[in-house]
């Protein structure tokens, strides 16, 4: 269970996040949608404190962190309980796919090297890259890199997986393989918070949809409810584009 209360962040004079309250139950797949600049990425990055909010509390499992009074140990603890997949993959360039996945296991979780290797191999096999374990990021395609990044995140067995526009940097063909991997991850019962512009994908995998506008949650509901019966004006506008694209160009 993840509880976020009163999360606020501003870059003066703009308020990026305005008192966000959010509770995510275990196993939920929450998609965050909204136009760019709505604060979606900031929300995600605030949860693992890559971005330091001005105030608020974040509770993941038993760990509760008050932003204002946070300690270094609490910050690390929060980060250990989450794992993030970035838009630009952010793999370690000087490490192979296998070493990328092993890194957190060895350094953060202090798992013996041989065991870490086994876990990493398993995760890489799950994302379909067992034949690429000794390749370095620059020798992999964007889609493969992102799948390694997903394996790296999954290996840490986080209580919350954060996806920050995982397919925005990929062309549609490569995005497909990444989306399939994310879908598989979702089906395994992981708790996920996902920022994505791929509306049809969101509609396929999310159990719950949040609409963020100007730093506030303007709509929060079950997937089908939001897609077929949006309440707020902002959501209707956002979905208008999605439905327009879905309409056939010609009808007989």
């Amino acid at each position: 269970m993840i509880e976020i209360r009163g999360l606020t962040k501003s870059f003066h004079p703009h308020t990026i996040l305005n008192h966000i309250d959010l509770t995510i139950r275990t196993g939920e797949i929450v998609a965050v949608i909204g136009s760019s600049g709505a604060g979606k990425s900031t929300l995600l990055r605030s949860i693992n404190l890559l971005e330091i909010p001005d105030k608020g509390t974040i509770k993941i499992g038993e760990v509760k962190v008050d932003i204002v009074k946070r300690t270094k140990a609490e910050t690390l603890e929060l980060r250990k309980r989450t794992a993030m997949v970035f838009q630009q993959f952010n793999l370690f360039r000087q490490k192979t796919a296998l070493e990328n996945v092993m890194e957190g296991l060895i350094i953060v979780k202090k798992i013996p090297k041989e065991d870490a290797r086994k876990i990493a191999m398993l995760q890489l096999e799950k994302v379909g890259l067992i034949h690429r374990i000794h390749h370095y990021p620059k020798q992999l395609s964007g889609g493969q890199q992102q799948r390694v990044a997903i394996a790296r995140a999954l290996a840490m067995q986080p209580q919350l997986l954060l996806f920050d526009e995982p397919t925005s940097a990929l062309d549609p063909e490569l995005a497909g393989e990444v989306l399939d991997t994310i879908k598989k991850t979702a089906e395994e019962g992981n708790t996920m918070l996902l920022v994505s512009h791929e509306m049809s994908f969101v509609r396929k995998i999310a159990t719950r949809v949040l609409v963020l506008d100007q730093g506030a949650i303007v709509e929060d509901g079950a997937r089908e409810e939001v897609f077929s019966n949006p309440k707020s004006e902002r959501t209707k506008q956002l979905l208008a584009n999605y439905y327009r694209d879905r309409d056939p160009e010609f009808a007989i």
Binding site: N48, L50, K72, L76, E77, R79, K80, T82, A83, M84, F86, Q88, F89, N90, L91, F92, R93, Q94, T96, E103, G104, I107, V108, I130, H131, I133, H134, H135, Y136, K138, Q139, A149, R152, M156
Partner: protein
């Protein structure tokens, strides 16, 4: 006609000079390692803008860059005994100035000098590592020290390698100033040998050839290292021992 240039003498002098090569190498290696560590420290102080230390490091680097290394050696050679005298006076101790080996002064000066120049190279290299990798490492729950050691330094090292190689060559040649503190290394020895038979030019040619050869060796070593650290090369080696093939 007397021999104007005795080429045979040059080659017979080289083995005699090589006996002092270990001194040159010792000065180079120790100063380089100390210079790298201290340079890294200075770079981090500058990057993180740590109060007080930051201001001290700015003045220090500016001073080292603004004075000739020869003058720095003089300062060190004359200044450290003075400091010791002060210390003895106020703490009623009796450390002997003469117990400090002459090499110590040279090592201190060269290390500090190297640190000041390396710190800028290291800082630039650290900044060249893109923030995404740091963020990814942090998001896994690594501390700053772990991120620095495991992620930033290995990549920054590759970026800084060619420049640090140049600085190593400069340092190796810089050790020739050690005679100021009465340390005998190859250059000092070449003067001593020349004093015996007054064949200065032959002696200097011999020592020049040794420096040149050393420089070429260092250059080669750097190129070799760069190749070994190349990603495609590393990947090939790792894949070789692997059963799974594409």
């Amino acid at each position: 006609m007397p021999t104007i240039f005795d080429i045979e003498l040059v080659f017979s002098l080289i083995p005699k000079l090589l006996k002092y090569l270990p001194v040159t190498l010792e000065l180079t290696v120790i100063s380089m390692i100390a210079g790298l560590l201290l340079g890294l420290l200075l770079a981090i102080i500058k990057m993180k803008k740590i109060p007080v230390l930051y201001q001290i490091s700015v003045v220090f680097i500016s001073f080292i860059r603004g004075t000739p290394i020869l003058v720095q050696l003089y300062l060190c050679y004359a200044g450290i005994p003075l400091l010791l005298k002060y210390y003895n006076y106020y703490h009623e101790t009796s450390y002997n100035v003469n117990s400090i080996p002459a090499v110590f002064y040279v090592l201190i000066t060269l290390s500090l000098n190297e640190a000041a120049y390396n710190s800028e190279v290291i800082r630039a290299a650290l900044l060249s590592v893109d923030k995404g990798q740091t963020e990814a490492a942090q998001s896994l729950g690594m501390t700053y020290g772990q991120v620095l050691r495991r992620i930033i330094l290995p990549e920054a090292f590759i970026v800084a390698l060619p420049t640090l190689g140049n600085s190593l060559i400069g340092l190796m040649k810089g050790t020739s100033l050690a005679f100021v503190c009465s340390v005998v290394e190859i250059t000092a020895q070449s003067r001593i040998l020349a004093g015996n038979n007054l064949r200065f030019f032959e002696s200097y040619v011999a020592v020049a050839l040794i420096y040149w050869a050393m420089t070429i060796l260092i250059e080669r070593a750097i190129v070799f290292l760069e190749k070994r650290l190349d990603i495609d090369f590393k990947s090939m080696r790792k894949r070789k021992g692997d059963v799974i093939l594409d």
